[in-house]
């Protein structure tokens, strides 16, 4: 292959490289514009008064811009309540997922037990199933499991915040076990040998030695999980019946119905719901990306 290429006259390549450069810029600048347009356009609609856009359409020069849509969307929809639901689901779910996943990952990566691979396959494969494969039996199961009333006033796992936390934890465990066990494998075994010599027990090796070393991976996964669980739509739609108990992402579907006559309010509501993810995007983008790629690039 190389000999055939080497015989090619070199001068021909120079203009091609330049053309390639130009094409690259055209592609990337074009794509960037296409990619941000829907978001910028929604932002634009959300800032314009309904009275104006109903006459001129969305694609028109603004006579006035206002934050009034945001105020209205916030107050008329009880958005704070939905945000608190999201917090009540996301925070415990992220902490529990990371804690349980790190336990399994530690055992799989650093304790020699015979079923390591089986465990890893069990968790990894479970995370790859489409949610709809399990939803029908899961829905029936949620109707069967009783809950103390201080956790769920329906008295069931169904239609309760605790139920949503449970499924998010169970479903995300697989991915985190996979990522964390791969990460823990990169910790040199000598450190554990030294710890054993110093008399460190199993728990100390997990909690005092492994967990601090995993901080970067845990931070990346926490960013990823927070975004994913906050963004969850499917579990909340199927496992929460009462609209007022839904987290904010799935409550959007109801708001769409409520504001159907005033699209500018929907745009404002959508932008409000996007704020937490946009904050993560601006501040923690690298963490998010490294969480994603930790799951894909290591063997």
């Amino acid at each position: 292959m190389t000999t055939a290429l080497a015989t090619k006259p070199t001068p021909v390549r120079v203009p091609r490289v330049r053309l390639g450069r130009i094409l690259s810029y055209v592609l990337m600048i074009g794509a960037t514009i296409v990619w941000i347009t829907p978001i910028v356009f929604t932002l634009y609609v959300s800032l314009r008064p309904y009275s104006e856009t109903s006459k001129l359409g969305y694609v028109s020069l603004p006579r006035s811009l206002t934050l009034d849509n945001y105020r209205q969307a916030w107050t008329q929809s009880d958005m704070l309540h939905f945000f608190l639901n999201s917090v009540a689901i996301t925070v415990p779910a992220v902490i529990l997922t990371l804690f349980f996943a790190s336990l399994v990952a530690f055992v799989v990566a650093k304790v020699n037990i015979k079923i390591n691979v089986v465990l890893l396959i069990l968790f990894t494969a479970g995370n790859l199933l489409p949610q709809q494969v399990i939803i029908t039996p899961l829905y029936r199961l949620y109707l069967l499991i009783p809950m103390p009333t201080f956790l769920s006033d329906s008295g069931l796992l169904y239609n309760s915040i605790a139920g949503l936390v449970a499924i998010n934890v169970a479903f995300q465990l697989g991915f985190c076990v996979f990522v964390l066990s791969n990460f823990m494998r990169t910790v040199p075994d000598e450190m554990y040998e030294a710890a054993v010599v110093d008399g460190a027990g199993l728990w100390t090796r997990y909690w005092r030695l492994t967990m601090p070393l995993c901080r970067p991976a845990l931070a990346a996964l926490a960013t990823l999980l927070t975004t994913w669980i906050y963004n969850d739509f499917f579990w909340a739609i199927t496992l929460i019946e009462t609209g007022s108990r839904r987290p904010v992402t799935s409550a959007l579907a109801n708001l769409q119905g409520q504001f159907v006559s005033n699209q500018n309010l929907i745009a404002a509501a959508a932008m409000i719901v996007a704020i937490p993810t946009l904050v993560v995007y601006v501040l923690l983008q690298r963490q998010f990306i490294s969480g994603l790629t930790l799951g894909s690039t290591k063997g």
Binding site: V104, V107, L129, Q132, I135, R140, L202, P216, I237, L252
Partner: protein
Amino acid sequence: MASTVTDAADDAAKSPVTPRRRRYRVGRLSRREILLVLLMLAVPILADLAFVWGPAIASVFLSFFRWSGVGGLELRGCRPAGGLLPDNGCLTGGDNYSQAATNYPPFWPAVEHNVIWLVVFIVFATPLGMLFAVVIDRGIKGSRIYQSALFLPVMLSLALIGIMWEFVYSPNYGLINTITGHNQNGNLVDWLGDPKLNLWAVLVEATWRQAGYVMVLYLAGLKAADPSLREAATVDGANAWQTFWRVTFPTLRPINIVILVVTVIESLRAFDLVYITNRGSNGLELLSVLVTNNIVGETSRIGFGSALGVVLLVISLVPISIFLYQNFKRKADR
């Protein structure tokens, strides 16, 4: 801290190259330690079995029953139709499957839409994401900006994406129709309402997000690839196109498989976008929506919904097996 993460990711990516030392042995675990290991594993394993694998297996089991969810299940054949009420909670064998295939109008359209979804992801979204990654990786000016912009949709929830695009597609006021002059009542193009168009319109939204996702995954793979190979190819006179296809691409086999798996799984999971657009009806039927309709709707048909779920399960086992084989075969090789 962010840089440590990426370093760690890079190290991890390179680890197959460095020879691995033998695993440390703690010797035999004491009885207390065995108990501790069991305690550590108990809750996560129980959660995974009860909420993920249990339901997955139960859906296979339930798919052979006719059950409305009311009353119990009995291991007996269903009485032939004819009574006042159809028999309930009884075994129907493969009836749910044959009904889905022959007597359930949305089934085949949904299968077709899922296939179209997958094909668009494979021939369009994924290559587009890979192209973005390759161009960014070659280091053009402003690559940071492009990368951030293209990645933005990956952070947003699909429900939100569906809502944002409604402003782009809106028949009277939307961006596309206004610019192309199709916003008068005589010549409206109803992108999301017309069953001949709406699947494609929604697929543009899905591609918009998926390409960014693939781009990030692929960029990580490219960064971890050995640069000396590429340099050697360039020295030998290969152009960029040849270098990519003959040198870089083959060395990225593991990440290519991850991306293939992600692509297939994501197209089977597709749900949020069509649900937020029109609840997955009128041209936007997908298998995932049909499953959901049969449990949450007024007529809950647990057995039938499970059968549809099993169809999804069987299809998804293909990419899952590929991924597991790829991943754990390599581990065993080391």
